[in-house]
Symmetry: C2
Subunit: 139 residues, 2 copies
Amino acid sequence: MGVYKTNGKESLLALLKSQPDRSFSVEQIHDKLGPDAPGVSTVYRLCSNLVRTGEIKKYPDSAKEGYVFQYAKDLHCEAHIHMQCESCGAIFHLSCDMNEHLAEHLSEDHGFIIDPSRSLLLGLCRSCYEKRSAHVGNA
Amino acid sequence: MGVYKTNGKESLLALLKSQPDRSFSVEQIHDKLGPDAPGVSTVYRLCSNLVRTGEIKKYPDSAKEGYVFQYAKDLHCEAHIHMQCESCGAIFHLSCDMNEHLAEHLSEDHGFIIDPSRSLLLGLCRSCYEKRSAHVGNA
DNA sequence: TTGCGTGCAAAGGTTTTGCATGGCA
DNA sequence: TGCCATGCAAAACCTTTGCACGCAA
Protein backbone atom coordinates (compact mmCIF):
# COMPACT_ATOMS: atom_id res chain seq x y z
CA MET A 1 0.00 0.00 0.00
CA GLY A 2 1.08 3.55 -0.66
CA VAL A 3 3.08 2.46 -3.67
CA TYR A 4 1.08 4.15 -6.36
CA LYS A 5 0.67 7.85 -6.84
CA THR A 6 -3.03 8.58 -6.93
CA ASN A 7 -5.25 11.62 -7.10
CA GLY A 8 -6.77 11.05 -3.70
CA LYS A 9 -3.46 10.72 -1.97
CA GLU A 10 -1.99 13.72 -3.75
CA SER A 11 -4.87 16.07 -3.03
CA LEU A 12 -5.16 14.97 0.59
CA LEU A 13 -1.48 15.50 1.17
CA ALA A 14 -1.58 18.82 -0.68
CA LEU A 15 -4.37 20.03 1.56
CA LEU A 16 -2.57 19.18 4.77
CA LYS A 17 0.71 20.47 3.41
CA SER A 18 -0.84 23.79 2.42
CA GLN A 19 -1.75 24.54 6.02
CA PRO A 20 0.89 22.85 8.13
CA ASP A 21 -0.31 24.61 11.28
CA ARG A 22 -3.85 23.35 10.94
CA SER A 23 -5.23 19.97 11.79
CA PHE A 24 -8.12 18.33 9.99
CA SER A 25 -10.67 15.74 10.93
CA VAL A 26 -11.56 13.02 8.45
CA GLU A 27 -14.83 14.80 7.84
CA GLN A 28 -13.13 18.12 7.18
CA ILE A 29 -10.66 16.53 4.81
CA HIS A 30 -13.44 14.86 2.91
CA ASP A 31 -15.48 18.06 2.71
CA LYS A 32 -12.63 20.36 1.77
CA LEU A 33 -11.49 18.17 -1.05
CA GLY A 34 -14.84 18.83 -2.65
CA PRO A 35 -16.40 16.93 -5.54
CA ASP A 36 -13.28 15.08 -6.60
CA ALA A 37 -12.73 13.92 -3.04
CA PRO A 38 -12.01 10.30 -2.28
CA GLY A 39 -14.72 8.50 -0.32
CA VAL A 40 -14.71 8.60 3.44
CA SER A 41 -13.35 5.11 3.80
CA THR A 42 -10.49 6.00 1.48
CA VAL A 43 -9.74 9.09 3.55
CA TYR A 44 -9.49 6.83 6.57
CA ARG A 45 -7.21 4.46 4.72
CA LEU A 46 -5.02 7.23 3.33
CA CYS A 47 -4.65 8.84 6.72
CA SER A 48 -3.73 5.56 8.36
CA ASN A 49 -1.10 4.93 5.74
CA LEU A 50 0.33 8.43 5.95
CA VAL A 51 0.51 8.22 9.72
CA ARG A 52 2.32 4.93 9.38
CA THR A 53 4.86 6.43 7.00
CA GLY A 54 5.28 9.45 9.23
CA GLU A 55 4.14 12.05 6.73
CA ILE A 56 1.25 13.17 8.89
CA LYS A 57 0.45 12.95 12.57
CA LYS A 58 -2.72 12.02 14.42
CA TYR A 59 -3.90 13.89 17.49
CA PRO A 60 -6.93 13.63 19.72
CA ASP A 61 -9.29 16.44 18.85
CA SER A 62 -9.57 19.01 21.59
CA ALA A 63 -13.01 20.19 20.56
CA LYS A 64 -15.26 17.24 19.78
CA GLU A 65 -14.36 13.69 20.58
CA GLY A 66 -12.43 12.08 17.81
CA TYR A 67 -9.14 12.64 16.06
CA VAL A 68 -7.48 15.07 13.71
CA PHE A 69 -4.58 14.82 11.31
CA GLN A 70 -1.82 17.25 10.51
CA TYR A 71 1.07 17.44 8.10
CA ALA A 72 4.23 16.60 9.95
CA LYS A 73 6.99 15.54 7.60
CA ASP A 74 10.50 16.74 8.22
CA LEU A 75 9.54 18.46 11.43
CA HIS A 76 11.27 16.02 13.77
CA CYS A 77 8.12 15.86 15.80
CA GLU A 78 9.48 13.03 17.90
CA ALA A 79 11.66 15.47 19.75
CA HIS A 80 9.29 18.21 20.73
CA ILE A 81 6.03 18.84 22.47
CA HIS A 82 2.97 20.14 20.67
CA MET A 83 0.44 22.76 21.59
CA GLN A 84 -3.09 22.66 20.30
CA CYS A 85 -5.44 25.62 20.30
CA GLU A 86 -8.77 24.53 21.72
CA SER A 87 -10.53 27.19 19.73
CA CYS A 88 -9.22 26.93 16.18
CA GLY A 89 -7.53 23.53 16.35
CA ALA A 90 -4.15 24.77 15.17
CA ILE A 91 -1.19 22.76 16.35
CA PHE A 92 2.14 24.38 17.11
CA HIS A 93 5.52 22.82 17.63
CA LEU A 94 7.42 23.78 20.73
CA SER A 95 10.83 24.48 19.31
CA CYS A 96 13.07 25.67 22.09
CA ASP A 97 15.08 24.46 25.02
CA MET A 98 11.97 24.01 27.13
CA ASN A 99 11.63 20.52 25.69
CA GLU A 100 14.85 19.34 27.22
CA HIS A 101 14.37 21.44 30.30
CA LEU A 102 10.96 19.96 30.98
CA ALA A 103 12.04 16.41 30.18
CA GLU A 104 14.90 16.72 32.59
CA HIS A 105 12.75 18.12 35.35
CA LEU A 106 10.09 15.44 34.96
CA SER A 107 12.65 12.70 34.92
CA GLU A 108 14.66 13.93 37.88
CA ASP A 109 11.96 15.30 40.14
CA HIS A 110 9.00 13.11 39.20
CA GLY A 111 10.48 9.94 37.77
CA PHE A 112 8.49 10.40 34.57
CA ILE A 113 10.08 9.78 31.19
CA ILE A 114 8.18 11.97 28.80
CA ASP A 115 7.38 11.06 25.22
CA PRO A 116 7.30 14.57 23.77
CA SER A 117 5.90 13.63 20.40
CA ARG A 118 2.68 12.33 21.92
CA SER A 119 2.32 14.96 24.61
CA LEU A 120 -0.19 17.62 23.82
CA LEU A 121 -0.66 20.89 25.62
CA LEU A 122 -4.08 22.46 25.23
CA GLY A 123 -4.93 26.11 25.46
CA LEU A 124 -5.42 29.14 23.30
CA CYS A 125 -3.17 30.45 20.58
CA ARG A 126 -2.36 34.11 20.45
CA SER A 127 -4.94 35.14 17.89
CA CYS A 128 -7.78 33.17 19.46
CA TYR A 129 -6.87 34.51 22.86
CA GLU A 130 -7.01 38.05 21.54
CA LYS A 131 -10.28 37.44 19.76
CA ARG A 132 -11.74 36.04 22.94
CA SER A 133 -10.46 38.94 25.03
CA ALA A 134 -11.98 41.35 22.58
CA HIS A 135 -15.30 39.53 22.72
CA VAL A 136 -15.44 39.55 26.48
CA GLY A 137 -14.34 43.14 26.42
CA ASN A 138 -15.61 45.07 29.37
CA ALA A 139 -17.59 42.23 30.90
CA MET B 1 -30.06 13.28 38.53
CA GLY B 2 -27.46 12.26 41.07
CA VAL B 3 -29.90 12.83 43.90
CA TYR B 4 -30.26 9.29 45.10
CA LYS B 5 -27.55 7.18 46.65
CA THR B 6 -27.40 3.94 44.72
CA ASN B 7 -25.29 0.82 44.73
CA GLY B 8 -23.94 1.38 41.25
CA LYS B 9 -22.81 4.88 41.96
CA GLU B 10 -21.28 3.95 45.30
CA SER B 11 -19.28 1.02 44.00
CA LEU B 12 -18.10 2.88 40.92
CA LEU B 13 -16.90 5.79 42.97
CA ALA B 14 -15.33 3.44 45.52
CA LEU B 15 -13.36 1.74 42.76
CA LEU B 16 -11.97 4.95 41.34
CA LYS B 17 -11.34 6.35 44.78
CA SER B 18 -9.44 3.26 45.86
CA GLN B 19 -6.86 3.82 43.15
CA PRO B 20 -6.67 7.55 42.65
CA ASP B 21 -3.58 7.24 40.48
CA ARG B 22 -5.17 4.87 38.03
CA SER B 23 -7.54 5.66 35.24
CA PHE B 24 -10.24 3.31 34.03
CA SER B 25 -12.10 2.87 30.80
CA VAL B 26 -15.82 2.24 30.86
CA GLU B 27 -15.12 -1.36 29.99
CA GLN B 28 -12.62 -1.76 32.80
CA ILE B 29 -14.99 -0.22 35.30
CA HIS B 30 -17.76 -2.52 34.21
CA ASP B 31 -15.52 -5.58 34.37
CA LYS B 32 -13.89 -4.74 37.69
CA LEU B 33 -17.18 -4.20 39.42
CA GLY B 34 -17.95 -7.82 38.74
CA PRO B 35 -21.32 -9.54 38.92
CA ASP B 36 -23.08 -6.76 40.82
CA ALA B 37 -21.87 -4.22 38.28
CA PRO B 38 -24.27 -1.76 36.77
CA GLY B 39 -24.91 -2.19 33.06
CA VAL B 40 -22.64 -0.54 30.56
CA SER B 41 -25.10 2.20 29.75
CA THR B 42 -25.39 3.00 33.42
CA VAL B 43 -21.62 3.18 33.73
CA TYR B 44 -21.65 5.71 30.91
CA ARG B 45 -24.39 7.68 32.61
CA LEU B 46 -22.71 7.58 36.01
CA CYS B 47 -19.40 8.68 34.57
CA SER B 48 -20.99 11.56 32.71
CA ASN B 49 -22.71 12.72 35.86
CA LEU B 50 -19.62 12.41 37.99
CA VAL B 51 -17.57 14.32 35.43
CA ARG B 52 -20.22 17.01 35.45
CA THR B 53 -20.10 17.28 39.24
CA GLY B 54 -16.31 17.30 39.18
CA GLU B 55 -15.79 14.15 41.22
CA ILE B 56 -13.96 12.39 38.43
CA LYS B 57 -12.09 13.50 35.34
CA LYS B 58 -12.13 12.26 31.78
CA TYR B 59 -8.96 11.87 29.73
CA PRO B 60 -8.22 10.60 26.26
CA ASP B 61 -6.74 7.13 26.53
CA SER B 62 -3.12 6.95 25.53
CA ALA B 63 -3.21 3.31 24.62
CA LYS B 64 -6.30 2.47 22.63
CA GLU B 65 -8.58 5.08 21.18
CA GLY B 66 -11.26 6.14 23.58
CA TYR B 67 -11.43 7.69 26.99
CA VAL B 68 -10.65 6.89 30.59
CA PHE B 69 -11.90 8.19 33.90
CA GLN B 70 -10.09 8.94 37.10
CA TYR B 71 -11.01 10.04 40.57
CA ALA B 72 -10.21 13.71 40.90
CA LYS B 73 -12.12 15.31 43.73
CA ASP B 74 -10.34 17.86 45.85
CA LEU B 75 -7.23 17.77 43.76
CA HIS B 76 -7.59 21.20 42.18
CA CYS B 77 -6.86 19.66 38.83
CA GLU B 78 -7.68 22.88 37.03
CA ALA B 79 -4.36 24.30 38.11
CA HIS B 80 -1.90 21.63 37.16
CA ILE B 81 -0.77 19.52 34.27
CA HIS B 82 -1.18 15.76 34.21
CA MET B 83 1.13 12.99 33.16
CA GLN B 84 -0.18 9.71 31.84
CA CYS B 85 1.86 6.55 31.67
CA GLU B 86 1.45 5.01 28.23
CA SER B 87 2.14 1.60 29.64
CA CYS B 88 -0.03 1.24 32.73
CA GLY B 89 -2.39 4.16 32.22
CA ALA B 90 -1.71 5.77 35.57
CA ILE B 91 -2.22 9.50 35.73
CA PHE B 92 -0.08 11.72 37.90
CA HIS B 93 -0.58 15.28 38.93
CA LEU B 94 2.28 17.67 38.38
CA SER B 95 2.40 19.45 41.67
CA CYS B 96 5.28 21.85 41.64
CA ASP B 97 6.34 25.22 40.36
CA MET B 98 6.86 23.87 36.87
CA ASN B 99 3.19 24.54 36.15
CA GLU B 100 3.57 28.26 36.56
CA HIS B 101 7.03 28.25 35.08
CA LEU B 102 5.87 26.51 31.92
CA ALA B 103 2.72 28.59 31.61
CA GLU B 104 4.75 31.75 31.84
CA HIS B 105 7.26 30.58 29.27
CA LEU B 106 4.59 29.50 26.80
CA SER B 107 2.73 32.75 27.20
CA GLU B 108 5.73 35.02 26.93
CA ASP B 109 7.83 33.23 24.36
CA HIS B 110 5.18 31.48 22.28
CA GLY B 111 1.99 33.46 22.79
CA PHE B 112 0.19 30.34 23.96
CA ILE B 113 -2.16 30.44 26.93
CA ILE B 114 -2.09 26.96 28.35
CA ASP B 115 -5.08 25.24 29.92
CA PRO B 116 -3.20 22.99 32.34
CA SER B 117 -6.16 20.88 33.38
CA ARG B 118 -6.66 19.58 29.86
CA SER B 119 -3.01 19.25 28.95
CA LEU B 120 -1.69 15.75 29.08
CA LEU B 121 1.93 14.68 28.97
CA LEU B 122 2.51 11.11 27.82
CA GLY B 123 5.41 8.91 28.69
CA LEU B 124 6.46 6.24 31.12
CA CYS B 125 6.12 6.28 34.88
CA ARG B 126 9.05 5.21 36.99
CA SER B 127 7.99 1.64 37.58
CA CYS B 128 7.03 0.96 33.98
CA TYR B 129 10.25 2.52 32.80
CA GLU B 130 12.23 0.27 35.09
CA LYS B 131 10.27 -2.80 34.05
CA ARG B 132 10.90 -1.97 30.43
CA SER B 133 14.60 -1.37 30.99
CA ALA B 134 14.84 -4.70 32.74
CA HIS B 135 13.06 -6.43 29.87
CA VAL B 136 15.28 -4.95 27.22
CA GLY B 137 18.23 -5.72 29.41
CA ASN B 138 21.34 -6.39 27.38
CA ALA B 139 19.72 -5.96 24.00
C1' DT C 1 -46.13 6.95 47.06
C1' DT C 2 -43.20 9.76 44.00
C1' DG C 3 -40.07 10.09 40.71
C1' DC C 4 -35.15 9.08 39.96
C1' DG C 5 -31.97 5.46 38.49
C1' DT C 6 -31.40 1.25 36.05
C1' DG C 7 -31.55 -2.50 32.60
C1' DC C 8 -32.46 -3.77 28.18
C1' DA C 9 -32.79 -3.01 23.51
C1' DA C 10 -32.69 -0.02 19.75
C1' DA C 11 -30.68 3.88 17.50
C1' DG C 12 -26.81 6.91 16.22
C1' DG C 13 -22.26 7.95 14.87
C1' DT C 14 -17.73 6.75 13.61
C1' DT C 15 -14.32 3.69 11.86
C1' DT C 16 -13.11 -0.72 9.66
C1' DT C 17 -13.58 -4.37 6.38
C1' DG C 18 -14.90 -7.21 2.01
C1' DC C 19 -15.43 -7.42 -2.57
C1' DA C 20 -15.71 -6.01 -7.21
C1' DT C 21 -14.14 -2.37 -10.24
C1' DG C 22 -10.99 1.08 -11.95
C1' DG C 23 -6.46 3.16 -12.40
C1' DC C 24 -1.28 3.32 -12.02
C1' DA C 25 2.93 1.67 -13.62
C1' DT D 1 -1.18 -6.74 -18.02
C1' DG D 2 -0.68 -7.17 -12.97
C1' DC D 3 -1.47 -5.44 -8.87
C1' DC D 4 -2.73 -1.67 -5.88
C1' DA D 5 -6.19 1.70 -4.61
C1' DT D 6 -10.90 3.04 -4.50
C1' DG D 7 -16.00 3.04 -3.99
C1' DC D 8 -19.80 1.17 -2.08
C1' DA D 9 -22.14 -1.34 1.27
C1' DA D 10 -22.10 -4.06 5.20
C1' DA D 11 -20.16 -4.91 9.56
C1' DA D 12 -18.05 -3.80 13.87
C1' DC D 13 -17.62 -0.79 17.59
C1' DC D 14 -18.55 2.58 20.93
C1' DT D 15 -21.81 5.65 22.96
C1' DT D 16 -26.37 7.60 23.57
C1' DT D 17 -31.28 7.35 24.03
C1' DG D 18 -36.22 5.56 25.03
C1' DC D 19 -39.07 3.11 27.77
C1' DA D 20 -40.79 0.34 31.41
C1' DC D 21 -39.66 -1.36 35.90
C1' DG D 22 -37.47 -1.25 40.49
C1' DC D 23 -35.72 1.07 44.24
C1' DA D 24 -34.36 5.15 47.27
C1' DA D 25 -36.33 8.49 50.06
